[in-house]
Symmetry: C2
Subunit: 470 residues, 2 copies
């Protein structure tokens, strides 16, 4: 039997695709990568995933696990590989309200989990632009971030347990529902964010949280990023940690946004140096249920804090959303970022900085960029509450060498300030050069040793995450 | 040169101890383990730790890292080993309030960090009984838990970055200050909880949080543990997630406590089936600053919620602390657990269960225990908010075989309900048999592969955490 016949024997002929049937599995959605897979297989169970990987292991065939294919770093490139799509494993097996958890298969789409949690009066708070396509297995494999990390953490912070198939087809059962479990090395955290290079995640136990009953949302203008950090800390304290989102938009980003959407309104009368979108989530009825004056207490709290700071001269301007439409208008400004900032020649930097070093980075970079490329333009938006900047450079000089020089200059400044060249998007193929240049060599060596120990034949998503030695 | 001379050359003669000078490094504080070390070394820097481990690596000598020696599982047993004490590396290098972080060396004692954070108006919220002796390196290596996990998570959830020395003396720099950092495998989480078997943690970056300005504390009696979980979820929602502690004491525990401390007061008029200690922490001034009626709003909220439940017949009884002395009295009942429950012959089970399976466990066990040992008595206290039970059995039959049979019966029921045989104390030597019997074999095999890859000579804390094969 050929390997294709064997794979079809495991998943069924209609779930083993080649040739034209494999259309849609030959490129990533950024358009930066294209490839010719050996085949696409769509197993229906963990047992089938295990059988597929045993065949791959025996024959030394690469396996590339696939979720919703919404990644930004080419991590699903699969030249000559078995593309292992988890899309058919899409059951929400269980939701247990009192225990605040859900048990889901890897192919569940993020919005499906959102809706199922909401039906229980709860929330799975992780969210980001691609939520309508991203699948849980991919979300875990990339340790996705998004806008609510400031309150709820990254994906890994919301995962209690998982199940995965290792490189030899062994199923490892880490489906813990526990909040304390000190029984050996934490394989869960090792597999989360490993981009499918150590195992294929097939199921997970995730935490649910009480769903905010109301939001208090505002656009705020301050003078400096240090003032912004001060505002974040004040709001966290005043609200008892209810800040759900704390987003930054640079002046150039706001200008490009308004140019691109002529019908959109500017948030303030005048352009501002630091424009923030701030959102508090009210979980408790006392914060969410409108009082006799019709006002939601959490919104009153936000207005009060902003008013006091305005009076003290610590804010330039502030507008609190009075209804859902105003809130949506505020979010539209921020969520247009991919559309506004993306250009084919863009130098895309998904970087993280210590919270109190963001201002130093944005102060230093213009001089360095000007020296490299006087015509370069920068559009910055940021999940400022967690230190994650999307620092998009439109170069004047679009030669690959010139663009690389900009990326290196950004990385260098990031490293100098103790930051990371990859905050939430991961490494995949795109960031391999950065990984080689910037990651601690001892850490890289340890990662290579772990990869060799758990996948000695190197069949799991080969070529991703770890740059080759030397 | 002998190995001792070489080690003394690295750390200085007065910091390399043998013979009588090594007194205090020959047994663990439970008294269950005693050993004769090769020597004790006390390096003053990461560079010295690296040099020590290079010598150990070259000579194939075991190295046992030491913190405050407060562990409960024999993880610092060191027959013939270099005992590597981090006690001299005890600097708090930096505390940065706006960034809400502290940078500490491994030898810092937990209470020292508490005090330093408090001096900045912040808190490092991890706390447990041994806080006055436990050192950060050991706290991280065991992923310590404690009473505040329900609000702040385990140790690993409070660590942004760390530095460690690997088995060949290489220093791995993971001193990230970042809230998002997806750059390769998460070595931080692999080293946390590894009990010194993969590397020696030398420093860490930890998160700080706003310090609660006031606490609202109550003793509550309910009928069943399911009612208790319902109460937890209600209080979380009503307070917006402000529950800091949610502790359970069984009827027998309460009876033994009152017998042991005749001057102590019972919390309620009559003994109760389920006695809870509940504490909310008020971070925001609006929750903490007393109003015109002199009452702290968070305490008023707690009283209101408890009053409504009492009226609805969902509570048996409840008392809210009116002052610091009453709060201290409540905590004294819970914190006497080690004193009340510990007996030389006790079968000590530090177990975790899914939040909604605790009641099933406590319902099932009495019958199983009675069949094994009709005279066995059980004293249960629990960090109920995170599902962690300290289930201490006083056997009638104290033969080792009979005690093992009890431990196995507990483990079996725990496993059946999806729990863990080790919640917060770790494995060390004590739990090796449980690890062998109960841990997923594929997970054990992966752990062994990782250990062999990162410590091929097996010199780092040998014999701990991983049971030998076969």
């Amino acid at each position: 039997m050929t390997i294709l016949e064997r794979l079809a024997g495991v998943v069924g002929a209609r779930n083993a695709l080649t040739g034209d049937d494999a259309q849609g599995y030959r490129e990533d959605w950024t358009g930066a990568y294209a490839w010719e897979p050996l085949c696409v297989v769509k197993p229906a169970s963990t047992a089938e995933v295990s059988e597929v990987i045993k065949i791959a292991h025996e024959t030394g065939t690469p396996v590339v696990p696939l979720g919703g294919q919404t990644g930004l770093t080419g991590a699903t490139e699969g030249q000559g590989a078995i593309m292992l799509s988890l899309e058919r494993m899409n059951a929400i097996r269980e939701i247990r309200g009192p225990a605040r958890l859900a048990i889901v298969e890897a192919g569940v789409i993020l919005t499906e989990l959102h809706e199922a949690a909401e039906a229980m009066g709860l929330a799975f708070p992780l969210t980001f632009g691609a939520r309508g396509s991203a699948r849980i297995g991919g979300v875990l494999s990339t340790n996705a971030g998004g806008s609510n990390v400031v309150r709820y953490g990254n994906t890994r912070d919301l995962v209690l347990g998982l199940e995965a198939v290792l490189a030899d087809g062994t199923v490892v059962d880490l489906m813990s529902e526990l909040h304390k479990d000190n029984s050996g090395y934490n394989l869960k955290h090792l597999l989360i964010g490993a981009e499918g290079t150590l195992g294929v995640i097939t199921a997970a136990v995730v935490k649910l949280v009480p769903r905010p009953r109301a939001f208090a949302t505002a656009m705020v203008a301050v003078e400096t990023l240090d003032d912004a950090l001060d505002l974040l800390n004040r709001l966290q304290e005043a609200s008892g940690g209810a800040v759900e989102a704390f987003e930054y938009m640079s002046p150039r980003y706001m200008a490009e946004y308004l140019a691109r959407f002529p019908e959109a309104r500017a948030p303030f009368e005048k352009p501002q140096e630091v424009t923030l979108l701030v959102e508090l989530g009210a979980v408790a009825p006392r914060d969410a249920v409108p009082g006799d004056d019709g006002q939601v207490p959490m919104a009153a709290l936000l207005e009060h804090e902003l008013g006091a700071l305005l009076e003290a001269g610590r804010l330039r301007d502030a507008v609190v959303a009075q209804n859902a439409a105003q809130r949506a208008e505020m979010w539209a400004r921020r969520e247009a970022a991919a559309e506004v900032a993306t250009r084919a020649t863009m130098v895309n930097n998904d970087i993280a900085l210590p919270l109190d070093k963001v201002s130093a980075f944005l102060d230093e970079m213009p001089g360095k960029l000007a020296a490299l490329d006087p015509e370069a333009l920068v559009l910055t938006v940021a999940h400022l509450g967690d230190g994650n900047l999307h620092y998009s450079v439109w170069p004047g000089n679009t030669d690959p060498g010139a663009r690389d020089a900009i990326m290196e200059a950004v990385e260098e400044e990031v490293l100098r300030l103790g930051g990371s060249f990859s905050a939430e998007h991961g490494i995949g193929l795109t960031k391999l050069p950065s990984m080689r240049r910037r990651k601690d060599p001892a850490a890289l060596a340890a990662m290579r040793a772990i990869k060799a120990a758990l996948d000695p034949k190197g069949i799991l998503n080969p070529g991703k995450l770890l740059p080759p030695e030397g």
